[in-house]
């Protein structure tokens, strides 16, 4: 069973977001996502300074047998990417919610909030997918 920390928010595309005290948002992929992808071998991150829209594909996570887009859950500007992932993509497998964060986004002031799920809603969403 994959972990779903209560303090984070989620998307139905298996990203998590953490609202930081300075108002920026940290984004990564969930434990469920890293588990279904398997051992990650490469992570492609957006360039710092790039403007992203909520729901826009802005990063790619690759395992040996798959490649998945990662969508920004919010509209804003990418202000930082996790430098560790270039050399150690497996960090996402090992610690998806902390050391495996992917990018930080400064949310645009006039942005319409994207649809996000609470931890409880995401857990329910995951349960609904099992057959």
């Amino acid at each position: 069973m994959s972990t779903v920390p209560a303090e984070l928010e989620y998307t139905d595309a298996h990203e998590w977001l953490r609202r930081l005290p300075d108002g920026t948002v940290e984004v990564g992929i969930t434990d469920h996502a890293q588990h279904s992808l398997g051992d990650l071998v490469y992570v492609e991150l957006p360039e710092v300074g790039r403007a992203v829209k909520a729901g826009e594909a802005c990063a790619v996570v690759e395992s040996v047998k798959s490649a998945s887009d990662v969508y920004s859950p919010v509209t804003g500007e990418v202000i930082a990417c996790n430098p560790v992932l270039e050399k150690a993509p497996e960090t996402i497998n090992q610690d998806p919610y902390r050391a495996g964060w992917m990018m930080r986004v400064r949310v645009a002031p006039d942005a319409v909030a994207g649809a996000v799920l609470s931890a409880a809603q995401y857990t329910e969403f995951l349960d609904g997918k099992d057959d």
Binding site: V41, Y42, E44, E62, V64, K65, S66, A67
Partner: protein, 459 residues
Amino acid sequence: MAFIPHTPADVREMLAAIGAADVEALFDEIPAGLRSEPLAGVPEALNEMRIGRLLRERAAADGMVLSFIGAGAYEHHIPAAVWAIASRGEFYTSYTPYQAEASQGTLQLIYEYQTMIASLTGMEVANASLYDGASSLAEAALMAVRANRKAPSRRILVPATTHPHYRQVARAITGRQGLSFDVLPYDADEGILATSDIVAAAGAVALVVQQPNFFGRLEEVDALTDWAHAQGMLVIAVVNPISLGLLEPPGAWGGRGADIVVGEGQPLGVPLSSGGPYFGFMATRKEFVRHMPGRIVGRTLDTSGREGYTLTLQAREQHIRRAKATSNICTNQGLLVTAATIYLSLMGAQGIERTAAASHARTRELLAALVRLPGVRTAFRGPCFHEAVLRFDRPVAPLLEGLARDGILGGFDLAGHYPELGPALLVCATETKTSADVERYAAALGRLLGAPPVPAGIC
């Protein structure tokens, strides 16, 4: 005959196991209205003896001629061992090495091939090959757009001295994705690109540099490479692999070297075969490897720590990335790569260098013999490699027809692609030609031009 092994008894037993009355019953899901008598008009079978005779007759009708055509496909000596080994059923009838454990032969061979291509081109990595030289240029252009994200356009600069068919193919394959090609003129006296002639280059993605160029002339690759890099462009090199025995490899062009290298692999042990199958090679810097299309083989370890080979970086490819793949290419040209790897092993660096030098020497000999004829002169000033353009005082086509009647293919007529040159002929002689062949050509052309016979041994 369809090479079917079943006896009538086999068929009966198999139908019984299926629970079908007859073979036709197995097609009962095809709507009846669609069924037709589809093979009407297809000829009756010929057995192997009769098809053999038919093909031998047709081949004999085409005959064997003495050819001085190059223009992107070159006749070189092919050691007998090359195709004796490449034609082994284990290479010839195997599939793509998806099941790595059952394909170590093909995979190791490709790894060795990648090493040879990288070394020959002076680059860090190579893929397992693409279809041919021309389509490789198209793939290189698409790759340059992916790799040079800072470029504000999808424009590629391509000199008019690049093989005209390559330019056509690049346009046909990449145009649908919005790439465009700005054709750069060449210096009329020198037949090469001059950076001073390039206008409106700003914002282009990449510069294509073919070395030697379509005219056989040697471009000033160092200056062109540095100039393109200074403009924020990538450099796509198109090279003849045999020439790399003698010429500076693209990895050493200018201060930083070319970024993507492609070319036609045919000269490396592949017969002319009217145009194919050949293979295209592609090499690049390590930093661009994930932008490269096509299969790539890597060396790794197995579960018990032994070394082995496997396809790698497959997340770039269509079977995983689907609509976001680097290309729709699925296959490489495995069998041709097999031949080329054996060829390069037998020739080695020295053999390639000698092949290049011998070819070049034969072409110089040919040029010397032909320019002695009335109304024939070389078109451009400056060094060439194993191919050159001659200008004539009369149209070339009738001369080529006359030579063909003597069993000689005199070269490639440039009237169609380069009308501005006037009557002009691209000629090539490789190491397969002898001084006697050159004399035969010169004598035949001399007769057509109304010159006295060339004395033997003058070259």
